[in-house]
Symmetry: C2
Subunit: 210 residues, 2 copies
């Protein structure tokens, strides 16, 4: 029987560069399967149905959500996003590792349903990006500063639920680290005990013994 695949979830605050990192990882590992999400938002220029997203109507999405079609789903800024569970499960059963790019809430939902999933938190190199969004409309006020710190402490809380934290300072380096995490996770003892069973089963005198 082929080894069951592993589920890797890459997440983190927006601006951390997780989308770019996932693309980099898929280039490094052609065998890794990226699960395409379903969304109800309109396609942006250049986005292809079935490649970047499956673009569905709200009615179709909600009907599917109601019958458990999604591994996780959420409404973000008025649009729905979801991960089809069947695609992920069939790839894992076939022995392929699967990569998901999800927001923090989605990553948590997946971990609840798939405790064996490996959650990786991508950290931006600075709070600059977040800060810019918060204080876009003028000089920093006390309230803005407070919001920024609240958001930062929100990061901290979310990150604690993850298995790994990867600083996305230099893309090439962060990509190498993600690649190493996949290699290492495959060798964790709980996932390798079958190797020892095989060693025992296929000992040098198998022919004589059986």
């Amino acid at each position: 029987m082929p080894r069951k695949g592993l589920l890797f979830v890459v997440s983190g605050p927006s601006g951390a560069g997780k989308g770019t990192l996932c693309q980099d990882l898929l280039r490094r590992r052609p065998g890794l399967r990226f699960s395409v999400s379903v969304t109800t938002r309109s396609p942006r220029v250049g986005e292809v149905d079935g490649v970047h997203y499956f673009f569905w109507s709200r009615e179709r999405f909600l009907e599917a959500a109601g019958r458990g079609y999604f591994l996780e789903w959420a409404e973000v800024y008025g649009n729905y996003y979801g991960t089809p569970v069947a695609e992920v499960e069939s790839a894992l059963e076939a022995g392929s590792d699967v990569l998901l790019d999800l927001d923090i809430r989605g990553a948590r939902q997946v971990k609840e349903k798939v405790p064996d999933a490996v959650l990786i938190f991508i950290l931006p190199p600075s709070l600059e990006a977040l800060h810019e969004r918060i204080s876009r409309r003028g000089t920093e006020t006390e309230q803005e500063r407070r919001l920024r710190l609240e958001a930062a402490s929100g990061f901290l809380k979310a990150a604690r639920d993850f298995d790994y934290i990867v600083l996305n300072d230099i893309l090439e380096e962060a990509g190498r680290v993600l690649d190493a995490i996949i290699t290492a996770e495959r060798c964790r003892t709980s996932r390798q005990l079958h190797l020892i069973d095989e060693l025992i089963r296929t000992g040098p005198s198998r022919g004589k013994e059986e």
Copy 2:
């Protein structure tokens, strides 16, 4: 303050090739510190005191063991072997990762004293080597077969206490996996939370705030 180093212990049954793998890993990672063991056995041709081992008398070894000089020590085939604790601790405190090449019993002793240590079990590609030692004196008898299976199931029990199991089938590949394990372990959440603290502390408006 510099990040505290991590302790990696490579172990496994004899014949698994862990010595060669450790040398390969040290070539890949010049920053990794290899801890030289103390032994009471005689130097073999080409072995240099302080490089391959520290060669001590039995009296000196036992006196040192008595005053807690070793992180782990054991008697193997009538000779003593031990890992000096001071060298390991000072390297870790200075932020260097440290590599130990120990037998299974030694690895377990280290894990008891340093729960944060990462234990890696090296698996030989087949039971051939072990089998050869057991059945060296003739054709395989029922008793020999039993011994072989007992030893194999001993592997299984020992491996369960380790964090990782690496199959040493192709040296280059196993070396790459060990290297990836070190990279990944450094990114485990428990070891990365300081990054988030730093992000918060060194936000973009630090100058104005403090």
